[in-house]
């Protein structure tokens, strides 16, 4: 393409500035976790690894991590089940209200989290009288993660078409065998990408969790938030924050390895 060298360099430097804008704050988080000072001051005067060993032994962090993992896995399982069956219904059948249901599934992620949060909390506490706890967190998280599994599964089902299934059934396989040997293997990587994204969203969620978690449960984001303004916890918070930054590379690596569909893990 013909583009002047001047414009080319200008764009290249803008790209550089943009990447610097993205990565400088994240690097600060990682460097700060080795800062030997208890209170925040930049630049760090000296470095230490003692906060890392303290954070690993911290029971609050361990418990919070456990709750986040449990809630994330349960919510992902529900989202996988509901999102996939909805994707099958929408891609393979015509029915009354199809437009409405495909709009309804994106609503929980399009509305502000605070609206979803107080709506669910109001329903649980005032209307239904359910005490909030792990179950209500899972319900909240599943509600807004169904859409990501649904989107991934629907895109794959539409692209797959039905000819493979028809061929399989022409060759004598029944519906269940066809699903097990043809449909599911073809769908698997899309479901994996959707599940990964659903888990990521759930693991990171704070707003809906704030309103649906009972007093006894702290997920990792809630733990970070509660300790953010406690000066003596700052070094531990820094280590947890740095860990989350470093771990964020993992899903990108996995989705690039496993799915050629889109590098975004199906977020778009």
């Amino acid at each position: 393409m013909t583009i002047s060298n001047k414009a080319r360099y200008a764009l290249m430097s803008l790209m550089g500035v943009g990447l610097a804008f993205i990565y400088i704050p994240l690097s600060v988080v990682i460097i700060n976790s080795f800062n030997s000072s208890r209170t925040f001051s930049w630049p760090p005067q000296s470095f230490t690894t003692q906060w890392w060993s303290k954070a690993i032994g911290n029971t609050g962090v361990r418990k919070a991590f456990g709750w986040s993992l449990t809630a994330g896995l349960l919510a992902t399982a529900i989202a996988l089940l509901l999102g996939t069956s909805l994707a099958f219904a929408v891609s393979r059948y015509d029915f009354f209200g199809k437009e409405v249901i495909s709009l309804l599934v994106i609503l929980p992620i399009s509305l502000p989290g605070v609206v979803t949060g107080i709506a669910l909390s109001n329903a649980f506490n005032q209307q239904l009288g359910i005490s909030t706890g792990l179950m209500t967190i899972v319900i909240g998280h599943a509600t807004f993660t169904i859409v990501v599994v649904y989107n991934n599964a629907l895109a794959r089902l539409k692209r797959m078409g039905t000819s493979l299934q028809e061929a399989s059934m022409d060759l004598g396989a029944n519906g269940i065998t066809t699903f097990r040997l043809i449909t599911l293997p073809n769908l698997a990587s899309a479901l994996f990408a959707g599940a990964l994204l659903a888990f990521g969203l759930s693991f990171d969620e704070i707003v809906v969790t704030t309103f649906t978690a009972g007093p006894g449960i702290q997920t990792l984001p809630i733990w970070i938030y509660n300790n953010l303004f406690r000066p003596n916890q700052a070094p531990i918070v820094n280590v947890v924050a740095a860990t989350l930054v470093i771990v964020s590379v993992l899903p990108i690596y996995l989705s690039q390895r496993l799915s050629q569909d889109s590098t975004s893990g199906g977020r778009f």
Partner: protein, 286 residues
């Protein structure tokens, strides 16, 4: 046994459809729409001023308070201003970056750049805002350390900090759809425009911009709507400044009906925004 079940199912497509639809529909309609509906109804209730309990008596008092008190009007305008600034800043950064990624970078580097833009999306939301606390901290922060010597000071915690923080959070959501839009745009169009004598800027304004408009709209739906309902960023780096979400959050425990009333504002704004977007036809070509 198994094949007889399969045969039975095969003959009944209606049954299969109902089986597939039942659980997700029940979940979304009962758990989600039901909760939203109940919240909307609560917006018309009031609370007992002694006990603080919700009194189920229909009245428009909350809406009257919300519309007549200038404090709430200011919060709405401020929140809209922040959401619009964030969207504009993200678009200004995202267009050149996406253009470089899609049209100038070598194919091998393209993949790396996409991964570099995507990775922060998986880093925790809270951690990213926390990072900006360290950046913006007056005197001891990173910005004052780096830019202080050349006379640039950190804006501290407040409105500008919220705009910076939210732009930082949602920038990848703007870059990725524009990148996808530019990738679909054939290079020959740009060449043709150049051959016909258009300069870089003219080509951008008359050829590229109209064609990536749907992608811009897609990105803006993230940047705008995510900013509109946010309250955690304002709590962490906003100083004393309040956004709509903060008002909802604060009223949640003391006056739930009023919180519900305020919560209708971002929903209404998003509905209007979506309606405007629909009218431009940008959604259809996504």
């Amino acid at each position: 046994m198994k094949s007889s079940v399969a045969r039975w199912m095969y003959k009944r497509p209606k049954f299969r459809l109902v089986a597939l639809l039942a659980a997700p529909t029940l979940w979304l309609v009962v758990a989600y729409l039901g909760a939203l509906g109940a919240l909307l109804v609560t917006a018309f209730f009031t609370i007992d001023s002694f006990t603080g309990d919700v009194v189920a008596q229909f009245n428009l008092g909350n809406f009257q308070d919300m519309l007549t008190d200038p404090a709430y009007r200011n919060v709405v305008l401020r929140t809209l201003g922040i959401a619009l600034s964030v969207t504009l800043i993200c678009a200004t950064f995202a267009i050149p970056m996406a253009f470089f990624m899609a049209k100038i970078a070598k194919p091998r580097n393209q993949k790396i750049l996409v991964a570099l833009v995507l990775t922060p999306l998986w880093a925790s939301y809270l951690v990213k805002i926390y990072a900006w606390r360290s950046m913006l901290e007056p005197r001891t922060g990173v910005i004052d350390w780096v830019l202080g010597p050349i006379g640039i000071r950190s804006p501290g915690f407040g409105g500008p900090a919220i705009v910076i923080g939210l732009s930082y959070l949602w920038l990848p959501y703007m870059i990725l759809p524009i990148y996808a839009g530019l990738e679909r745009l054939p290079n020959s169009l740009l060449d043709a425009s150049g051959d016909l004598g258009a300069g870089n800027f003219y080509t951008f304004r008359r050829v590229i911009l109209p064609l990536i408009f749907p992608s811009l709209v897609a990105g803006s739906m993230f940047t705008f709507s995510l900013s509109l309902g946010d309250y955690i960023t304002a709590q962490i780096i906003g100083g004393k400044l309040q956004m709509l979400g903060n008002v909802v959050y604060q009223n949640f425990s003391i006056n739930l009906p009023f919180a519900a009333t305020i919560a209708t504002i971002p929903v209404a704004i998003m509905a209007i925004y979506l309606w405007l977007v629909r009218r431009t036809g940008a959604l259809a070509s996504l």
